[in-house]
């Protein structure tokens, strides 16, 4: 078991001492069976997908209705209790990691789709419905919900709202914030609010826009209204190999400059390609330094034309190989290696850290070079998989936690990568969220006044700072060390089976 590098919020001993009274209170507003305090059962809630950080909460509650959520939160308000909202617990940044004196509000019972409206092209779902379930519910009529985070089989739409989740298609179709029309939420005071609805745009301040990506700091989402899109008529992908990362980066820039917005534009470097090919035999070329997957979707006439144009651009930028998918099976095969990249890397190294920086596209090649130099300096290997189209990097730092000092080196390496992203005009996190993972780097990206302005928003919703304590913003007292996402081959990692990209 690893010793966490980041301080979780400090629990209040007096609150823990009142546990029995608190449980009685919670059981007065919920069915007794929906309040969990059994130590063994609480273990299921002690971490999320950032598994190095574990903490059993005081209790877990599983409300069934919005009114019950409001009742729990009013009780928590009276008692001064801290709250940790939780969807499916797939956060990669520790967004749902509990605190010892907190009540985890699990939204798993909110699992019903309430309405599907094809005429207005919206779906209304309770917040615990999984991302994929929404697309599946409308698939028969050839509609889908566009944002597709890699954990979509498990992650909830409420969690997507909290994290403003992305996915491989967000270059063309946007993030959660561009696809959510409304929510129902409960404030820390226990007030039920409706923000947005089935219409477009806010009539007053856009508090919906503020809630999306607020990482559980401002309230609990109970219901989400999303817009759905008609499925594109067709989709094809190109698999393009390059002898240098520079060539691949230049090709990415050329595609965008040519006015083409691909549905997906992904890049992998040699170590990632090799690991993926060994794992799933996707048919990737191995004698290349970088591989691009470019997916075009839309009307058939358009897709075929764009495939030709991208093919020409690839040749002009020195592609060593270029294949266009001829059928759906081949397109899916192109993606298979990319989607298995994280577990594939997990097979070639005992442990890895996954980073999530976001940079201007034109910085791709120089940043790759700098990461290679950092790899030498820190004496650790790295495999790179990128959402190249929107400049979102996922460098995977390979290390072995059993080698003394290697974890610390990996974390120092990761911290250097994120600082590099900020230095070239980028940001700490493109889609995984700050959580506890990048909290202590926030001061590298933001100045004290920038953070104060954000703190005031937090205070406007949650003046007692009871919601998701210790997340996103550096605490007043903090550890000097910074940590990253730790994946340990030896540990029973949650959701280890999910594809990650």
């Amino acid at each position: 078991m690893l010793v966490p590098m980041i301080c979780l919020a400090q629990p209040d001993a007096a609150t823990i001492a009142r546990k029995a009274t608190i449980l009685t209170g919670l059981r007065s507003v919920l069915d007794a069976a929906d309040v969990i305090d059994d130590d063994l059962l609480l273990r299921a809630y002690e971490t999320d997908a950032l598994t190095a950080y574990r903490q059993r909460p005081l209790a877990v509650v599983l409300p069934n209705t919005t009114a019950q959520v409001a009742a729990v939160l009013r009780f928590a308000q009276q008692q001064g209790l801290r709250i940790v909202p939780r969807g499916a617990g797939t956060s990669l940044s520790g967004g749902a990691v509990p605190v010892a004196d907190a009540i985890v509000v699990g939204m798993g019972r909110f699992n019903r789709i309430l309405d599907i409206d094809y005429e207005d092209r919206v779906v209304v779902a309770q917040s615990g419905v999984t991302n994929l379930a929404i697309s599946q519910a409308v698939a028969a009529r050839d509609f889908y919900y566009a944002p597709d985070p890699s954990s979509q089989i498990a992650c909830t739409i409420g969690g997507n709202v909290a994290e403003n989740s992305g996915g491989v298609h967000c270059l063309k179709y946007g993030l959660t914030t561009h696809n959510v029309l409304g929510i129902e939420m409960v404030t820390p005071e226990g007030e039920i609010l409706r923000l947005g609805g089935r219409h477009l745009d806010a009539g007053h301040y856009d508090l919906l826009g503020l809630m999306i990506g607020s990482e559980g700091l401002l309230g609990i989402v109970t219901e989400v209204t999303v817009r759905i899109l008609p499925k594109p008529q067709s989709a094809r992908a190109l698999l393009i190999g390059f002898g240098t990362a520079h060539g691949a980066s230049a090709c990415v820039a050329a595609v965008i400059a040519a006015g083409i917005i691909p549905a997906g534009l992904e890049m992998m470097d040699a170590p990632a390609i090799r690991a993926a090919e060994d794992f799933v035999q996707a048919g990737y070329p191995l004698a290349v330094a970088a591989l691009l997957i470019v997916e075009l979707d839309g009307p058939q006439a358009e897709v075929n034309e764009l495939i030709t144009r991208v093919h020409e651009l690839a040749n002009r930028h020195g592609a060593s190989s270029c294949r266009a998918s001829r059928d759906e099976a081949e397109r899916l095969r192109f993606w298979a290696g990319r989607k298995a990249a994280f577990p594939a890397v997990g097979r070639i190294s005992p442990d890895y850290l996954c980073m999530d920086g976001s940079i201007p596209r034109q910085q791709l090649a120089p940043v790759l070079e700098s990461i290679a130099a950092l790899s030498v300096r820190h004496g650790l290997r790295v495999a790179n998989v990128f959402h190249a189209g929107d400049g979102n990097l996922h460098p995977l730092i390979l290390y072995d936690a059993n080698v003394p000092g290697e974890l610390a080196r990996a974390e120092a390496f990761g911290s250097d990568i994120l600082k590099l992203c900020v230095d070239v005009g980028g940001v700490l996190t493109g889609e995984h969220g700050v959580g506890i993972e990048k909290r202590d780097l926030m001061t590298y990206q933001f100045g004290p006044t920038d953070l104060l302005v954000q703190h005031r928003i937090k205070w406007a919703f949650d003046p007692q700072l009871r919601f998701n304590p210790g997340k996103v913003f550096p605490a007043l007292s903090r550890c000097s060390e910074q940590g990253r996402e730790h994946v340990h081959a030896g540990a029973a990692a949650r959701h280890a089976d999910l594809p990650r990209f």
Binding site: D117, Y118, E119, R121, F143, N164, C170, G174, L175, T177, T187, E191, L193, R194, L195, G197, R198, H199, L200, D201, G203, H204, Y205, D206, L207, G209, L210, G213, P230, K231, P232, I256, G259, I261, G298, P299, A301, E302, L306, I359, P360, R361, Q362, H387, G426, V427, L428, T429, G430, V434, Q445, F446, T449, D450, L451, V453, Q454, R456, I457, A460
Partner: protein
């Protein structure tokens, strides 16, 4: 009296010291929207100029008072544009030069908004000074960013009541190679809304759908010329409506410029802007019985032209959504709620949110009240 700061530091100096409340003005085209503001004019027109534009990044950074026309020209030269299609302000506001900052603070989007997203969706980063005189940044210069609260979303559409923008970064998109518009006569509003829904819900990638007085139902297709032609054929086959007219290229562009500007309602002294679930549009029109109206966004945006403000009748027809009194005399805007009144619990949160930025109401005081 007016004060004209020449840079961000001077804005900070003005707002960090005790002083008057300000009416924020740059291009001035939207001064007549919202409750009348009493304050010293803060002339922001000096905060202008493009700071950085790199077409390969699909991102543009400019100071907020940069003329929208200048930005559009710059983008056009690179085959790019603002995806949210900011509409001309001549009908709804005062004549003059719209600025990028004004468009973002009004969250003003044109007909393509229904598929390409709003002004708010395209604002990815900003520098600003709040009512406390604190200069801060929000968002960034990259399209994918979940670092901290999404301040650009929260500030877009705040009508200058939270902070003074000093720099903004917006996403831009490649301009379409070609566009065509399919026009049908509409026998009834329900049929028009149904045709819009069928178009937008089809696989033919309809980018805009409107019902325009005197012109009928309009569905726009954009993209590669070859693709537009084949989708047009497909769409016609699917909708089975005749007769129809097709506008192509510049004709189509001009048509949508008029739709965005709500030119058809120019003669009315009172204009309401309603955002509603599209399937309710026909019912709402039936209940309000307006003298004239235009539907956009597939029915989700209703423009109502009237001789008099009849707030009860307009707002009474809503079940979900909201209505803004976008054009009326100053006296009428003083007498009626211009923005949709909020439920008490929501209003309380909104008031605390406002106070986080501008506790002393120094920025456009009362404009959204």
């Amino acid at each position: 009296m007016s004060i004209r700061p020449s840079n961000e530091s001077e804005v900070v100096a003005l707002l960090s010291a005790a002083g008057p409340a300000f009416e924020l003005v740059a291009g001035g085209t939207k001064r007549g929207i919202g409750r009348p503001v009493a304050g010293t004019m803060l002339d922001l027109s000096a905060l202008s100029g493009v700071v950085d534009y790199q077409p390969g990044e699909l991102v543009l950074t400019a100071r907020p008072a940069t003329a929208l026309g200048q930005i559009q020209e710059l983008l056009r030269a690179q085959g790019q544009r603002l995806g949210f299609e900011p509409p001309d302000a001549a009908v709804l506001g005062a004549p003059g030069n719209q600025t990028l900052g004004g468009v973002l603070m009004a969250n003003s989007s044109g007909s393509r908004r229904v598929t390409a997203g709003s002004a708010r969706d395209h604002l990815i980063g900003l520098r600003a000074v709040n009512g406390r005189g604190e200069a801060f940044v929000g968002g960034g210069r990259v399209v994918k960013n979940v670092t901290g609260f999404d301040l650009p979303k929260a500030l877009a559409g705040s009508w200058g009541t939270l902070a003074v923008l000093t720099e903004v970064t917006v996403r831009v998109i490649p301009a379409a190679e070609f566009e065509s518009t399919l026009l049908f006569a509409a026998d009834s509003t329900p049929l028009a809304v149904e045709l819009c829904a069928r178009g937008l819900g089809s696989m033919f990638e309809v980018s805009s759908a409107a019902l325009v007085p005197g012109r009928g139902v309009a569905l726009r297709l954009e993209g590669l010329m070859k693709s537009v032609a084949s989708r047009l054929t497909g769409l016609l086959g699917a909708l089975k409506q005749s007769p129809h007219t097709v506008l192509e290229g510049a004709q189509s562009e001009e048509f949508w410029r008029q739709v965005g500007a709500v030119a058809a309602l120019a003669r009315f002294p009172v204009i309401w802007r309603l955002l509603v679930p599209p399937r309710q549009a026909a019912r709402i029109i039936g209940e309000i019985e307006p003298e004239e109206f235009q539907l956009d966004w597939g029915g989700g945006l209703i423009w109502v032209g009237a001789q008099q403000v009849d707030a009860g009748r307009v707002r009474g027809a809503l079940h979900g959504g909201h209505a803004t009194l976008i054009k009326a005399s100053a006296a009428e805007r003083g007498a009626h709620a211009v923005f949709e009144p909020q439920a008490a619990a929501l209003a309380a949160v909104a008031a605390r949110f406002k106070s986080a930025f501008d506790p002393d109401h120094r920025l456009n005081p009362g404009r959204m009240s």
